[in-house]
């Protein structure tokens, strides 16, 4: 495998250093004693982690972010799985077009989408903030669901559906007892992918917040504008931990090729 020269190896090393170092720096800073964001820290402490759990607004918005992520992911799954099924199973004209339609949220800049929803749902329709937030998140994570499930269905042997039907299962029953169990890995992976993206979202959430309703990333951002202490660093470390666990689960169910293909 010596098509890689020495220069290339060094270059790549530097790039990876660039990619990983900042996250390591945050981690180390989080354990710093001082209340200034110092790197490298002089002394070590976990007080900032404790502070995270004592800061009410972080706890509250964490719960909200969690709820929003779970509910919108479930909604997106509820709508997206049948849609993916039809797209990949069907053989109708304009199939590609319909697929692009369902993937279209990806094409719209999130900040524009967030603003438009704000305009339409909150200003014009006067919908409650939480509902608008849920709607916004559901839309923008649907493409993740559809892409992953459709890819899963590409390899699906539709003959087993025919087998189920001829042996007595109605088409509806077949969907639940034959199709769903066999795409379960796709469902899990897309759930986690969608969950992470919803949880971390800023540009859409930033428009759809209101009294009592805000998400964790937004709260982190406003904290940083006023306080420059390692609390946010500690919170970042906790979030990275969460991401690692979730990534691990995806890797278990699907392998990492999904990321490369997308």
């Amino acid at each position: 495998m010596n098509e890689k020269g020495k220069t290339l190896s060094v270059f790549t090393l530097i790039v990876y250093f660039f990619l990983i170092a900042p996250l390591l720096i945050i981690t180390l800073t989080a354990f710093g004693e001082s209340e200034f964001l110092k790197f490298p820290p002089d002394s070590f402490s976990v007080r900032w982690f404790v502070n995270v759990f004592q800061t009410e607004m972080f706890i509250n918005t964490f719960v909200i972010s969690l709820k929003v992520a779970v509910i919108s992911t479930l909604l997106a799954l509820l709508m997206g799985i049948p849609a993916s099924y039809i797209i990949s199973r069907g053989n109708f004209k304009h199939k590609r077009l319909i697929e692009s339609f369902f993937l279209s949220p990806v094409l719209i800049p999130q900040i524009v989408f967030g603003f438009s929803l704000f305009n339409f749902l909150i200003i014009k329709l006067k919908l409650p903030v939480l509902s608008s937030l849920l709607i916004g998140h559901t839309i923008f994570i649907m493409p993740y669901i559809i892409r992953v499930i459709s890819a899963n269905l590409e390899n699906f042997d539709y003959e087993i559906e025919e087998a189920a039907v001829i042996f007595g299962a109605s088409p509806l029953k077949t969907f639940f007892i034959i199709v769903l169990p066999n795409i379960s890995s796709g469902v899990i992976a897309s759930f986690i992918l969608a969950f992470i993206n919803s949880f971390n979202n800023v540009p859409i959430s930033v428009f759809l917040t209101g009294p009592g309703i805000s998400t964790l990333p937004i709260q982190m951002m406003s904290y940083v504008e006023y306080y420059f202490d390692p609390t946010v660093a500690a919170l970042s470390v906790l979030l990275m931990l969460m991401t690692t666990v979730l990534m691990f689960i995806i890797e278990r169910s699907l392998g990492l090729n999904y990321f490369v293909e997308n």
């Binding site: 042997d157 003959e159 087998a163 039907v165 001829i166 042996f167 007595g168 299962a169 169990p181």
Partner: protein, 350 residues
């Protein structure tokens, strides 16, 4: 009364019409095969019977009732797929039990029947395995068991053995036939393998381009193919024209031919004749010209093991002759080809 009949069936996929005005009648307990090259419509016919494919015109009658619009899951037919279509997330037991579960059979009865059927196909001990852990032949047997255990009114098989190796194919086809006869199951079987088809069927439907070329017992089809296509399919080569000459025939050049044939159409003067390569008698040219023979020259000779195969150039085209002559006849030698009158057949042209 016919058990299953397709009447004036039309099946089309978009602009592509596969079957038109298709008629077929099958009797109870029969084993009928649909035989033909890919694209002839045999699989479409089978899938129409199953209901996977909807017909645009015509009817499917089953046991006297109109089954055309009955939903697939209510038909109570058994189907064995070419690629087995076993449920990957269920083990062997649950795969086989599936149909019975859908019929809401009692648990204890399911257990008895499934285990008995799995024994019947020789897979006892594999109950807890999953399809991914089975070989092709084992998967095929699970698929068969799954279809048989529900005691279907009709058994449909779509090239079930084509993914198995040759030896297994022969073993399995015998098993399938045995079970079918034992249970008296009416069966429709699709295949493109002539030998397989002939060895196990009561009747064979030879199909081409959505039409039935011939519907007969295997013996009849083999010995008396009615059309050029069927003849070619069952191994006849050497097609040439014969012209009526009173009670006999002659070739275009005038050689006299006797043919002990049946069912000659009265109005025709020109017929298509054929003979198998094995049935032509080949000798070195010489002596008087007899009837039922033509002259030719050897173009190529090939050693086949049991016989020699000669490609002989004649004024009527090239003839293929398989002969167990003691010594190979060399190329460019003039030869005499003799066609025994009972071995010549007359067929309908394309």
């Amino acid at each position: 009364m016919s058990f299953l009949s397709l009447e004036n069936l039309k099946v089309a996929y978009g602009k592509n019409t596969v079957l038109e005005d298709f008629n077929l009648s099958i009797n109870k307990g029969e084993f009928v095969s649909l035989l033909g090259p890919s694209g002839c419509g045999k699989t479409t016919t089978l899938r129409s019977i199953a209901g996977f494919v909807k017909s645009q015109k015509g009817k499917i009658m089953f046991k006297g009732q109109d089954f055309t619009d009955v939903p697939v899951h209510k038909k109570h037919f058994g189907f064995v797929f070419q690629n087995y279509a076993l449920f990957p997330h269920l083990n062997v037991f649950d795969n086989v039990a599936f149909g019975l579960k859908m019929q809401k059979t009692a648990e204890s009865e399911i257990k008895t029947r499934v285990e008995k059927m799995i024994d019947l196909v020789g897979l006892s001990g594999f109950l807890k395995r999953y399809p991914a852990e089975l070989s092709g032949g084992q998967q095929q047997r699970v698929a068969l068991a799954r279809a048989l255990v529900i005691e279907p009114d009709l058994l449909l098989l779509d090239e079930p053995l084509s993914n198995l190796d040759a030896k297994l194919r022969v073993e399995m086809r015998v098993e399938i036939r045995n079970i079918q006869q034992k249970l008296g199951l009416t069966t429709v079987y699709v295949t493109h393998d002539q030998e397989e088809c002939f060895s196990i069927s009561d009747r064979v439907v030879v199909m081409k381009d959505g039409e039935i070329e011939q519907l007969d017992s295997p013996e009849k089809i083999y010995r008396n193919p009615e059309t050029e296509f069927v003849a070619d399919f069952v191994g006849f080569e050497n097609f040439f024209d014969l012209f009526r000459d009173g009670d006999n025939f002659k070739t275009a050049a005038g050689d006299l031919f006797y043919v002990s044939s049946v069912n000659l159409e009265k109005n025709k003067d020109k017929f298509r004749a054929s003979i198998r390569p094995n049935d032509i008698e080949i000798t070195r040219a010489g002596g008087e010209k007899k009837d039922n023979s033509i002259r030719g020259k050897i173009k190529i000779s090939t050693f086949l093991g049991e016989k020699y195969q000669y490609n002989v150039e004649t004024e009527y085209g090239e003839f293929v002759v398989n002969a167990a002559t003691e010594k190979r006849i060399e190329n460019d030698v003039q030869v005499n080809l003799y066609f025994p009158e009972e071995k010549i057949i007359l067929v309908r042209e394309e």
